[in-house]
């Protein structure tokens, strides 16, 4: 279903039509060659030697035996790395360990051999002498001055603080104050294709085929570590078997470059599932202390949020994640008074990094559940409390006070969900419960910014070539990390040029050909990259206009004449606009907090059944109304929404990456459970459209926000069914059983 205030005439020939992913048939038939399957002549196989303790010192490393093993071509250690330090935000991570070990699985050496078996045997023959240190596994204890320091500057990686208005006075005057602590757990991305790739070094140039959400960033990582110019490194990064934030940073491209240079042969590394589980990034675990003040009518008078974030051993994207948590800590709600204190802390647990939602799900679970509790104490309906406080276009943002842009449609999304049969008929459905199953229904809401945020210079490029036969090729920005954004790029180009979708050839994910465009992340690919495509197409149309051709345009003639004039290649850049009305924020605040001009939002209803004897939860239906701007490719939006709900459902109910003293306890998919087809409910997506003036054909980015309301909606449904309030995720059978037992006692 589509609702909204978009005029029908703006729907054009391509935009607004459901298009399949451009590689869908190849994926479905197995014809697609993933980069980790790539084979080159004379290729050697790389293997990473890793330590098996979470914290300690490397005191001895002997590669003599490994070098003498059959088939071994190279063994590299820290001294072979020209610049042995890396990190996307903070350079705090050695490429290969030269002293301190901070994570189980930290790499100490690289092996290349003729076969994978020989590489594995040689890796096992590398002799490593370790001196273990006590693991720092509790973020609160990590802040204790007596705790071992993981980095020179101490264990506090970052602290972010902002207050708007006088929170303590507002809370003191509130009719009720909900004062609760919420806990969320680490989540693993579980990409179907684990990390890895193929690297080649010839004539001083590196070519690396690797699944990365940010080819330009990976190029920077490699050029820095190897001490070469970025132009000496070419990253080719599609196709990709899933990303979700797992493939924005990480050392594998550097490993490939080091081994390719040392062996002067093509080299392939494919991470095992266990390596990814042990050493890959995770969704950050949060401890969120929320104080929510409501007046007697349910109006929000203040929200105070204190978030303690387990960043793990290295910074990765933690500082950026913390910013997004702060910005979304007041949810899609109005308030004039709010504060946020966030602290990201180093530990020896899993490495917190980028993960779809990027710091929003943790604080959304807290504010949504606090509203549930506040409404209960006031005797009000929680959904009515949400509605009366919902942010509207032109409102000042709850924490920062900047003005929310005109395309925001959270209220309309909430209305759509309140009108959905699964909400409307919830009491009747509840009465029909039978056997061991109790029934409940709940609603969750969330917002998330589109793009990197203000003050970040968020931009993307596009390069367009028209051939002398009139053909159109566009090398477009943020690459296709499994999202199918290339289809939407083609739709935008087709309609800007007035040509059929099939005429447009889109190429993504190659630093040699695609202009620097930032990452496929931050719900920005279509919003920023699609705008760059549109800008390039408009420039081509302007050049064709100057030729004075008569309509209908003869594209081949246009191509020939532009080629003759040396104008057949168009380069364009789109810079995402910053917040227009900063409200009380200063220019320095903009840089510090990166508030967003454009937000997407989503509201979901979940209907669930709970086994009264065991605490098991079966989700029967989730409907999502998504405030997506104009849906350029409705099939893409629905696909993203359904995938987001499933990932959110997994986080809500079962996914739980556990550590004991820094040692992973759930390092395979036997113990780390994700939803199977049997756990996935009936799904329904409602597109709530509006025209975002700064997006291509009115589009916004929604691929993250659709994940966020699922956990709060399920938690509200659990409350509806049983009266218990889940304050710690996941809501596993044991957790729900325990709450029900406590409530009965």
């Amino acid at each position: 279903m589509v609702i909204g205030d978009v005029d029908a005439p703006t729907l054009t020939r391509s935009v607004g039509r459901a298009m399949p992913a451009r590689d869908a048939v190849d994926v479905a038939t197995g014809a697609l060659e993933f980069l980790t399957d790539k084979t080159l002549p004379d290729m050697v196989h790389g293997k990473i030697v890793r330590v098996d303790i979470p914290h300690g010192r490397l005191v001895g490393l002997d590669t003599t035996a490994a070098r003498a093993m059959p088939g071994v071509v190279a063994v590299l250690t820290a001294s072979d790395v020209p610049r042995n330090i890396q990190g996307v935000v903070v350079p705090d991570r050695p490429v290969l360990i030269d002293g301190r070990i901070r994570q189980l699985g930290d790499p100490v050496a690289l092996v290349a051999a003729e076969t994978l078996a020989e590489a594995e045997a040689a890796a096992a023959a590398v002799s490593v002498e370790l001196e273990p240190l006590p693991a720092v596994s509790d973020p609160q204890l990590a802040l204790d001055p007596e705790s071992p320091r993981l980095h020179q500057g101490g264990n506090l990686l970052m602290e972010l603080h902002h207050e708007r208005g006088d929170v303590e006075t507002a809370l003191a005057n509130a009719a009720v104050v909900v004062d609760e602590v919420f806990h969320t757990q680490a989540q693993e991305h579980v990409c179907l294709e684990p990390g890895g790739g193929v690297g080649v070094y010839t004539n001083g140039l590196f070519t690396i085929w690797i699944g990365t959400q940010y080819p330009g960033g990976t190029q920077q990582d490699v050029s820095w570590a190897l001490g070469v110019e970025p132009d000496d490194v070419r990253i080719i990064s599609t196709p990709m078997g899933g990303a979700f934030g797992a493939k924005v940073d990480g050392p594998v491209a550097i490993f490939l470059a080091l081994l390719a240079k040392a062996t002067e042969r093509p080299v392939r590394i494919v991470l095992t599932r266990e390596e990814v589980m042990n050493t890959g990034t995770k969704r950050h675990p949060f401890r969120v202390h929320t104080r929510l003040g409501l007046d007697a009518e349910g109006g929000i008078v203040a929200v105070a949020t204190d978030a303690l974030v387990d960043a793990g051993p290295y910074a990765s994207f933690s500082p950026a994640v913390l910013k997004v948590s702060g910005e979304t800590s007041t949810g899609p709600y109005r308030t004039e008074t709010a504060s946020f204190r966030g602290r990201a802390v180093y530990t020896n647990n899993g490495n917190g990094g980028g993960f779809r939602g990027y710091g929003v799900p943790q604080v959304a679970f807290a504010i949504e559940t606090a509203i549930l509790e506040g409404a209960r104490r006031l005797g009000l309906d929680a959904v009515e409390v949400k509605r009366r406080n919902m942010l509207r276009p032109g409102d000042p943002h709850g924490l920062y006070g900047h003005i929310v842009g005109p395309s925001f449609r959270a209220t309309e999304a909430l209305d759509a969900i309140v009108g959905h049969p699964w909400w409307r008929d919830r009491e009747e459905w509840k009465q029909q419960a039978s056997g061991p199953w109790l029934r409940g229904t709940g609603i969750g809401a969330a917002l998330k910014g589109c793009g990197y945020g203000s003050g970040r210079g968020d931009h993307a490029g596009a390069r367009l070539a028209i051939g002398t036969d009139g053909s159109i090729t566009i090398w477009a920005g943020p690459n296709h990390s499994g999202t199918g954004v290339d289809a939407a790029y083609a739709q935008v180009a087709a309609d800007t040029l007035g040509r059929p979708y099939e005429d447009i050839d889109i190429r993504v994910g190659d630093t040699e050909l695609v202009p620097e465009s930032g990452s496929s992340a931050a719900s920005r690919s279509l919003y920023v990259g699609g705008s760059a495509v549109m800008t390039a197409c408009r420039e081509l149309m302007a050049r064709i206009d100057e030729l004075g051709l008569e309509a209908p345009i003869d594209w081949a003639e246009a191509g020939r004449r532009l080629a003759e004039a040396g104008r057949a290649l168009v380069e364009a850049t789109f810079v995402a606009p910053d917040v227009e009305d900063l409200g009380p924020l200063s220019a320095a605040d903009v840089e510090r907090y990166s508030p967003h001009r454009v937000y997407g939002s989503a509201v979901q209803v979940a209907r669930i059944e709970i086994n009264r004897y065991t605490g098991e939860i079966a989700v029967r239906g989730v409907a999502c109304a998504v405030d997506c701007g104009v849906a350029v490719n409705p099939a893409g939006v629905i696909g993203q929404t359904e995938g987001g709900i499933i990932q959110g459902l997994g986080w809500a109910l079962m996914e739980d990456f556990k550590y004991e003293d820094g040692v992973p306890q759930t390092k395979s998919l036997e113990t780390y459970l994700i939803p199977t087809a049997g756990d996935i409910p009936e799904l329904d997506t409602i597109l709530v459209e509006s025209e975002e003036e700064s997006g291509p054909f009115g589009a916004k980015g929604i691929a993250e926000v659709v994940l966020v309301p699922t956990a709060p909606a399920i938690v509200a449904a659990i409350h509806d069914a049983t009266g218990v309030t889940v304050d710690r995720l996941p809501a596993s059978p044991e957790a729900v059983y325990r709450l029900m037992r406590e409530s009965a006692a």
Partner: protein, 271 residues
């Protein structure tokens, strides 16, 4: 390197028995080998053509092939052993059920093995073949600890003999998700009801609450000969919690296993 023998007849298997680890569907052992378990020599029994048919029904007993895939056994049973069918429905995934066998699930001797509790509750026996001929062993006595069985190194399980239920039977599994999950607790039961509602011939078996699948003698005694009134159910639930010795692991706490096992019995009795 792993040596693999692929006998195609029982005679060939008999000649090879003892020279390596038996493997049928391999749905567990191959995963364990990937995890580092050393098995230098495997004997794959999945190509044996002259084994028993998947299911033979004779005089109140279902004879199940130990080497047939679980999915073939369930379709062959056509609903005759409801608890076994219920357990099979929750066993792994369809792909795993198309590979995995009863024999493998029994010989693997996991405390959480899903196919075992219904067999223990049914007082089933296995037929064990070896150099000295065949012998019959109660399923309840086959596993001696996690991963350990009463089988000799040159013995194999050929058949499972399961008495058909005279009254009711059933199976409940609690896992971390609806499919493809190792049990947190599982419960199988058999009983009959006489005219005044009293339960007779009560047999309960639980998975994942002790080193092997176990009976619950206290709970059985609390139910035997009694109609499941509220008081009787409460007493049986408490007795069952005392019958078992669960542990903490990454899937659940011992506390939850002990408590919820009682509630599974409650669910079995009340719904």
């Amino acid at each position: 390197m792993v040596e693999l023998a692929t006998p195609t007849t029982i005679e060939e298997l008999r000649a090879l028995a003892g020279s390596g680890r038996l493997i049928a569907g391999g749905t567990d052992i191959l995963v364990q080998m990937r995890d580092g378990r050393d098995e230098p020599s495997l004997i794959d029994v999945s190509n044996i053509a002259d084994g028993a048919p998947a299911v033979v029904i004779t005089a109140g007993v279902a004879e199940l092939s130990a080497m047939a895939p679980i999915s073939a056994i369930v379709s062959g049973l056509a609903g005759r052993l409801p608890a076994v069918a219920a357990s099979a429905r929750l066993f792994g995934s369809l792909q795993i059920r198309n590979r995995a066998t009863f024999g493998g699930n029994l010989a693997n001797a996991s405390p959480a093995a899903d196919m075992v509790p219904p067999l223990v509750a049914a007082a089933a026996h296995v037929v064990v073949e070896g150099p000295g001929g065949s012998r019959q062993v109660p399923v309840a006595e086959l596993a001696t600890g996690p991963g350990r069985t009463a089988l000799g190194p040159d013995e194999w399980i050929s058949l499972i003999r399961v008495p058909l239920p005279e009254g009711e039977d059933g199976f409940l599994k609690l896992g971390g998700r609806s499919a493809m999950a190792i049990s947190i607790v599982s419960l199988a039961w058999r009983w009959s009801r006489d005219e005044d509602g009293a339960l007779r011939g009560v047999r309960l078996a639980l998975g994942a609450v002790a080193p092997t699948v176990v009976r619950a003698p206290g709970a059985e005694a609390a139910l035997e000969g009694r109609a499941p009134s509220d008081d009787v159910v409460v007493a049986a639930v408490e007795a069952l919690r005392g019958d078992i010795a669960p542990i903490d692991d990454v899937r659940a706490s011992a506390w939850y296993r002990r408590e919820v096992a009682g509630d599974l019995l409650r669910e079995a009795l009340e719904t």
